[in-house]
């Protein structure tokens, strides 16, 4: 089962090691009555120890489904139909998470243990009828031999670290008694209390006001440094990405169309879609009253994905002889950037 290792383009200077988590050609489809929806269709990226990978893309491009696929928590009628998710363990062997039995013990020890996840909707991501303490203690005890009291102590400690006042008392409260920002903090506490190696944060700040957003990002970055944790940060807010990410992956219709270090992506985007995304971002020095440029056309429904390069109907640099006919592969541009566009070679 030798699959060609993708070129390691983004290397960690200190170690030059293998990635901690490597997603290769992930495909997750939804089989609905109306047809098959290819929510994720060949996404590839690597995550390195202590670094943050940002995933950006418009709504519906498959960011959340990619994240859920890593942990295999896709709802019916979705199924992961192809690809690999390799997690390197402390030894040198790496495990393919997708080969594990779904909901088996092995994958469950990774969920919430080695890889934790923070969800998009802080308001509904907690059970409304269990106390917050109940839910966080459960998370701790699933992955450690602590008894109830020790777990309680640890939970209180984590609540304090994420900045929730009087945590002792809040442990016995219900989620509806928390504000949105507090819930998101609590969510972070619950995800981090097991000291995971990787944290997947799916739009952790989208629902929050700017001040709270900044505080949450701060907390995440502090904790990342303390634990040398990797973060996969999903968002459609390029401003946030610029602030937190080391490497950025741009997704379009279930595919990673460009990936590279954050500076390169922002200073010299290669893929026309990335360029369009960046130019639609409001900047402070933009002339007042200047119309914000936006990407022409609407995102196609994932069910009738355009043939060839799926961006071609909206692409300003569309080439009629190839773009609508063949699908481009990710190709290296420069030392550490990759984009899937025929502008950079027609292999």
């Amino acid at each position: 089962m030798q699959s060609p290792e993708p070129e390691t383009v983004v290397t960690d200077e200190d170690t030059g090691t293998r990635p901690l988590l490597s997603v290769e050609d992930l495909q997750t489809y939804f089989f609905t009555d109306e047809g098959t929806i290819k929510a994720v269709d060949g996404a590839s990226f690597d995550v390195y120890s202590g670094r943050t990978l940002g995933i950006v893309g418009e709504s519906g491009c498959g960011k959340s489904i990619t994240a859920k696929s890593i942990l295999q928590i896709i709802d019916n009628p979705g199924r992961i139909v192809g690809g690999q998710v390799k997690l390197s363990s402390n030894g040198d062997a790496s495990k393919n998470l997708l080969e594990m039995e779904p909901n088996g013990e092995e994958i469950r020890s990774i969920r919430g243990g080695e890889i934790s996840m923070i969800f998009q909707e802080p308001m509904t991501s907690f059970s409304p009828i269990h106390t917050f303490g109940n839910q966080i203690i459960e998370a701790i005890r699933l992955h450690s031999p602590l008894d109830k009291e020790e777990a309680h102590g640890l939970a209180v400690d984590w609540l304090r670290r994420v900045g929730i006042p009087s945590p002792e008392q809040r442990m016995s409260e219900y989620p509806y008694q928390f504000s949105g920002g507090q819930r998101q903090r609590a969510m972070i506490a619950m995800a981090l209390c097991t000291e995971p190696r990787i944290l997947i944060a799916d739009e952790p700040t989208t629902a929050l006001d700017v001040t709270t957003q900044a505080q949450i990002l701060d907390i995440l970055q502090t904790l990342q440094k303390q634990n040398d944790m990797s973060i996969i940060f999903i968002t459609h807010d390029l401003g946030v990405i610029a602030e937190v990410a080391d490497v950025v992956a741009v997704m379009y219709l279930g595919k990673v169309v460009e990936i590279g270090p954050v500076e390169s992506i922002f200073s010299s985007p290669k893929h026309p879609y990335t360029k369009a995304l960046l130019s639609s971002m409001p900047t402070i020095d933009a002339a007042p009253r200047e119309r914000m440029p936006s990407i022409t056309g609407a995102i196609p429904h994932p069910q009738n994905r355009p043939s060839g390069c799926s961006f071609h109907p909206r692409c300003p640099s569309y080439m009629s002889d190839i773009c609508g006919l063949r699908e481009p592969d990710l190709v290296s541009i420069g030392t550490d950037q990759q984009a899937s566009c025929f502008l950079y070679g027609r292999n």
């Binding site: 942990l71 928590i73 969920r111 919430g112 969800f119 991501s125 059970s127 699933l142 219900y174």
Partner: protein, 329 residues
């Protein structure tokens, strides 16, 4: 929470009052007043009552006064625990109803327990294994269960137990226990006899509770908090039982309040068909004979019972769902 409880209690009291008004209305529906019928009834038995005595009776019931006075007099009597006199049975209504009311309550309560025990696991199974053979089978039986009227189910059960087992369903006690006083043996005998009535009465409720549990659980299973719990590494069954099932139980509890009136209605009809010694057959007899104090008394008491039962399941909901406490503040 206190606010919620007070509001519920207030509605219950309101319903109690509405039931009493309706019962009083029913008592007064037949033409002619009670005393005239009473005198006529006594005359058939050979007792002639003098005009004076009739007049004092009229006064006693306030028949010469406006109806709200009559209502108040009636309510006052009931407050003293006196439901009036049944001339069909020649006994005070209290004595006629007595044990039958208790049996009606036991039957309704047992049916609710039956519905819960059967419907909740099936509902969970149907939702978790959506579109499986089990799901389709139960869904179909659910529809049939809802469609067949209670009395018809009773007839069909009677027919099959007679044809197949040569066993005639009926009554709630074996002959040797009918008039015996309560004992362990009598209770056991009652339990045995109740099985078929419970199944008949519980079918429709079970069917709708299965549907409700299934639909709610399917809803809950799609909620983000389930994904959160999964992402924690919780095992699938533990997760389902701890979170979405707990959530799906809340509608099931409110549902109980909603089925209770139907159960009581159904028990009356089923009791008539199967000849169960509940208030059902007596009510029918009283209505046919226009023995209105008996009929009105029965309607009043089962109405009140239902209201109390509904109130109790409201209480259960407060205990089960912390959000109710919060919202009702």
């Amino acid at each position: 929470m206190l606010g919620y409880l007070i509001r519920r209690l207030f509605y219950a009291v309101l319903a109690v009052w509405a039931v009493s008004i309706i019962s009083f209305f029913i008592i007064n529906l037949p033409p002619g007043d009670y005393v005239t019928s009473y005198i006529a009834q006594l005359a058939i038995q050979g007792n002639i009552i003098g005009a004076e005595e009739a007049e004092s009776l009229r006064e006693y019931y306030g028949l010469d006064q406006p109806s709200y006075v009559q209502y108040l007099k009636w309510m006052n009597q009931i407050r003293q625990g006196n439901l009036g006199f049944s001339f069909e049975f020649g006994l005070p209504v209290n004595d006629v109803i007595g044990e039958r009311l208790v049996l009606t309550m036991i039957l309704a309560a047992a049916t609710i327990v039956f519905i819960w025990i059967v419907a909740i696991p099936i509902g969970i199974l149907s939702a978790v294994r959506q579109y499986s053979i089990w799901d389709h089978t139960f869904t179909f039986f659910g529809f049939v269960g809802l469609a067949v009227p209670d009395f018809m189910l009773a007839l069909i059960m009677m027919y099959f137990s007679f044809v197949l087992f040569d066993f005639s369903v009926g009554g709630l006690f074996s002959p040797e226990y009918v008039t015996a006083s309560w004992s362990l043996g009598r209770g056991f005998d009652l339990a045995q006899h109740m099985i078929i009535p419970i199944i008949i009465l519980g079918t429709a409720g079970t069917a709708s509770l299965i549907r409700i549990t299934r639909a709610n659980l399917l809803d809950e299973l799609r909620k983000p908090y389930v994904a959160t719990a999964r992402a924690k590494g919780l095992s699938e069954w533990r997760l389902i039982l701890k979170y979405p099932v707990r959530m799906a139980l809340n509608p099931a509890i409110s549902m109980t309040a909603y089925i209770l009136p139907f159960l009581v209605s159904g028990s009356i009809v089923v009791s008539v068909v199967l000849g169960l010694p509940t208030v059902g057959p007596i009510l029918l007899k009283a209505l046919v004979a226009q023995d209105m104090f008996l009929a009105g008394g029965i309607i009043l008491l089962i109405g009140w019972m239902t209201v109390v039962g509904t109130f109790l399941s409201d209480l259960l909901l407060v205990w089960a769902d912390p959000r109710v406490k919060f919202e009702g503040r």
